[in-house]
Symmetry: C2
Subunit: 250 residues, 2 copies
């Protein structure tokens, strides 16, 4: 178990080889064993394998080729649609059209996603998460025909790896873990925590490619800009509204 | 791996036995190997073992005794504080004070949490998630001294199990998995998907205890009421505002 967890790397190139349906079934079953709030299971997994649907999703995921290449694309959704329908059929009045319920459902979906990722890796498959899912949630909702009370929160592509990338660097544990309460960082802490990352060969390449003075600028000015973040924030909040999750009044 | 994933059950009673620090370290390391957006690692894990801090957390988690009993309580936080400080020290202007950035960071935290949960279980430990984390995020922020740009999103308690509960029931896969696009449910689908759950002994007990006609009513009228959900939605949105994640304008 730890060996699989600790050897994770994201795979962005896949062989043209379909997944055995029985393996896919086991992977999805593993997803369904993750903890869910009150065992409500307020999430869904949408499995896309058809070329024409994958191509539409590929457009939304910034045309990253792995979306077309990988045999299986799994979109994980916060989903109160099924639960609400059940309530209504059982003389119960659901009160799940609010932000807390969205976050609860998103949590269910994300924990299931990580189980699916690890289960896939235990079969020798590669996986990659697509953060772009929430950037273009509105279009993905149309493509996958998601009804009200369903919002896509993340996507995993999976298949047989056609590359063997090295492990991704991580900050030292002192950068992520806090003992008892939060220990805020002074300037020296930040320098120390980021030292190894900043002095790597990958960083040197990124600075050169992006013509930037610091690695942090590669993030703020190129990869995750304020302009994009604000646009995607507005879009995501309006999707939550449209899908029925922002009725936060009695 | 699959065996551990598929035998998960939440543990709510713990032995009075501390965790070996080397095991805890391995579990946290497993957390840090989960995928994170752009490898920004915008999350933190706060490890609480001290009795007095655990008692304060216990109050916030609806006084569930496992919070006091379990030797280790891990609060997973969406955290842009460290990343923002780094940017500011490196002549970069961070644009991460918005809702998209909160959701990105929450995703990092939740995927790490599931790795931690599974790693703990691989050492024979029990775990339980505490959804109450987002209900009382404001008080948890005070107790754990979380600075601006840090929001707790989930909590795991872990330790040596002092109970052996059975597996929790799950809906059949057709209730969670959709092929190619979302297949919405008709009344018969809902009846079929919930049939086994509704006919279980557990459901019979819940109906009796709660004096309700349907299981759905136990959820809507007792466990997750509209009134609570609305109050917690407002509280969580105001915490996102207070912690600096709702500046969604250019």
């Amino acid at each position: 178990m730890l060996e699989i967890i600790n050897s994770h790397r994201s795979i962005r190139k896949y062989k043209d080889k379909p997944l055995d349906p029985s393996i896919l079934e086991k992977i999805l079953e593993a997803g369904s064993r993750a903890s869910t709030t009150g065992n409500m299971q307020v999430y869904s997994m949408i499995i896309t394998t058809k070329k024409n649907v994958k191509e539409k999703l590929w457009e939304q995921h910034f045309r990253q080729d792995m979306v077309k290449q990988a045999p299986v694309v799994i979109t994980f959704c916060a989903d109160f649609n099924r639960f609400n329908k059940w309530c209504e059929q059982r003389k119960a009045v659901p009160g799940y059209d609010n932000f807390l319920s969205f976050f609860t459902a998103a949590t269910d979906a994300l924990l299931a996603a990580q189980n699916v990722a690890l289960a896939a890796e235990s079969f020798g498959l590669g996986i990659c998460y697509l953060g772009t899912t929430v950037y273009n949630a509105g279009n993905i909702i149309e493509i996958l025909q998601l009804p009200r009370y369903v919002v896509p929160v993340t996507t995993i592509v999976t298949g047989y790896p056609d590359e063997e990338p090295g492990m991704t660097d991580r900050l030292p544990q002192e950068g992520i873990v806090h003992s008892e309460t939060y220990q805020n960082y002074c300037a020296e802490d930040i320098d120390r925590i980021y030292r190894e990352k900043e002095s790597s060969e990958l960083t040197r390449q990124l600075l050169q490619e992006n013509k930037k003075e610091t690695l942090a600028q590669v993030f703020t000015d190129k990869r995750y800009t304020k302009k994009d973040n604000v646009a995607f924030s507005k879009a995501l909040l309006s999707i939550l509204e449209k899908q029925g999750f922002m009725n936060n009044a009695e």
